[in-house]
């Protein structure tokens, strides 16, 4: 490419930098591979530690078992799976409508000045540590729920509300991005046909942004299922299949954080097996979300 000026003097220098170039090419390929290798290592490690539990307990018994009693060697994670699903669904019921309307507010409704306050505010919500959410939930929500409901206040309701606030930014920002990605021509077309601006949004923009919105829900769900510390602080951690929103419950993640440090033997394996279930759950949800988002950008 550039040998027009090469002489005997410059040649070795050129050689050296060519060698660098080749060396770094391979080094960079290696760096590129690192995240995949880490992903693989995570999968391998938790699978290796979790496998004995699947083997001894049986995958189906493990997933559908309703009792988690270490002294009895009963390891069923159904209550935790249901607990995780309940709080996640609860959180989404609260945060999806709020998130979508907030996103519309940011893109179409809010005056520029208001937008300039709210967008950074929503982004700030992402950064607040989950223990701070847990703390506020513990001090404000749990006592309040204790007042209105029966029981101790540590409940699915408290956990759902805390989670709803935590996943709100995910839903708002991805929905907002996908609304902004809808071509202007769609909007202009709708307005030219005499729609009100709301009709335009409802009938044209939202359907066009549909895949992004679903992706935001999937990714928000992933974040909700994965949340740990804030859940431990407000949900009570009972190992039961909850029967109302005022009931205490336990999440998959909560079991891991609560019991990992003390576990030995089959208990240890069962916790990693719980990790495997969680890992697969999340991988499916995220892949789904990412595929949807990728479809949108194409």
């Amino acid at each position: 490419m550039s040998n027009t000026s090469s002489t005997d003097v410059t040649k070795p220098v050129i050689e050296l930098r060519r060698i660098y170039d080749v060396f770094w090419r391979y080094a960079i390929y290696f760096f590129g591979a690192v995240s995949f290798v880490i992903l693989l290592l995570i999968a391998l490690f938790i699978l290796r530690e979790g496998y004995p539990a699947f083997e001894k307990i049986g995958i189906w018994q493990f997933i559908s078992g309703q009792r988690w009693d270490v002294a009895d060697s009963a390891f069923g994670i159904l209550p935790m799976i249901i607990g995780s699903l309940y709080v996640t669904v609860g959180a989404l019921v609260l945060s999806v409508p709020l998130g979508i309307f907030s996103a519309i507010f940011l893109t179409d409704v809010a005056p520029k000045k208001v937008r300039k306050i709210i967008r950074p505010a929503v982004e700030l919500l992402v950064g607040i540590p989950s223990v701070v959410y847990g703390l506020v939930g513990m001090l404000m929500l749990v006592p309040a729920i204790q007042q209105i409901g029966q029981g101790s206040g540590d409940s699915i309701l408290a956990a759902s509300i805390v989670l709803a606030v935590m996943v709100l930014p995910t839903i708002v920002s991805i929905t907002e991005d996908s609304i902004l990605a809808v071509p202007n021509a769609y909007r202009e077309g709708a307005l030219a046909l005499g729609s009100t601006r709301w009709q335009m949004i409802w009938n044209v923009v939202l359907p066009a942004a549909r895949s992004g919105i679903i992706a935001s829900i999937a990714l928000g769900m992933g974040r909700a299922i994965g949340e740990t510390m804030a859940m431990i602080m407000v949900i009570g951690n009972s190992i039961i299949i909850p029967d109302s929103i005022f009931s205490s419950a336990r999440t998959l993640t909560g079991t891991l954080a609560l019991e990992l440090k003390y576990a030995t033997g089959i208990h240890w394996n069962a916790l990693f097996a719980t990790g495997v279930v969680l890992f697969i759950f999340i991988l499916i949800l995220n892949s789904f979300g990412i595929l949807l988002l990728r479809g949108k950008t194409k």
């Binding site: 009792r67 988690w68 009693d69 270490v70 002294a71 009895d72 209550p79 749990v142 006592p143 204790q146 029966q150 029981g151 101790s152 206040g153 540590d154 431990i232 009570g236 951690n237 009972s238 190992i239 039961i240 009931s247 205490s248 336990r250 954080a257 609560l258 019991e259 440090k261 003390y262 576990a263 030995t264 208990h267």
Partner: protein, 286 residues
Amino acid sequence: MILINQTMKRMAGVIAAAALVFVTIVTGCAPAPASEPTQSIELSGTINEAGSTSVQPLAELMATAFTQKHPKVTINISGGGSSAGVKATAAGTVILGAASRDIKISEADIIPICIARDGVAMVVNQANPLTDITIEQVAKIYAGEITNWKEVGGDDAPITVVSREEGSGTREVFEEYVTGRYNKKIKADALFFDSNGAVRTKVTAEKNSIGYVSFGYIEGLKALTVGGVAPTIENGQNGKYPIVRRLYFLSKSTPTGAVREFIEFCRSPEGQKIAQDEGYIPIVLK
């Protein structure tokens, strides 16, 4: 010349080191004279401790007191739980482990050294009028057979049961002395938390709850007398209070040097005073 010089220096170094080791061994093994405040050799080194979270707060306080006397010794205290403490000690990754439960037969290569005892108290909210409870009643409450306070002589209110997570040393003691005695199991719809402090926080906040915590965590709560015996250090020491466990430091081999000094400090009257001030039951010293 230079060569000889270097060799000499090296030899001198070796001799000095040998002397140091010798002195350390001698001072380390000799029964520490209590009235001798001046230490001939200043202790130094790093002690890494890991294990039971029930021992952790006590170990931290003892370590602080010990390192004030021996500033060149660094002691790192970490949690992890009793089983992790046993594992880490056996693997040699920490020089000192901590456990709040007895050593199992499968772990027999570890030397447990008792540094204090700990009682487990039954606690309720301060607004609860109840003052006494029997072990059998507690077992039934935790099993879900008694669900209202009026069944044990309290108000007409549902009982919120607060327990510890699976694997906890405190829970093992509770199961051994309380629920296990009546062949009962802790019900699954109890609330579960992974520390004494968290149980206390919950019972403080929830009017109708009952929990079990180490003696050191009674503050702010109402500790019930169990079968008429109050959960006090005195009753723990004289054997009247029924739910008492030992807390251990773990070592893989006979401890020496700074580690030995630290353990002896913990077991000394001074160390036991720290334990007692924090609500632990001192070990009986001869």
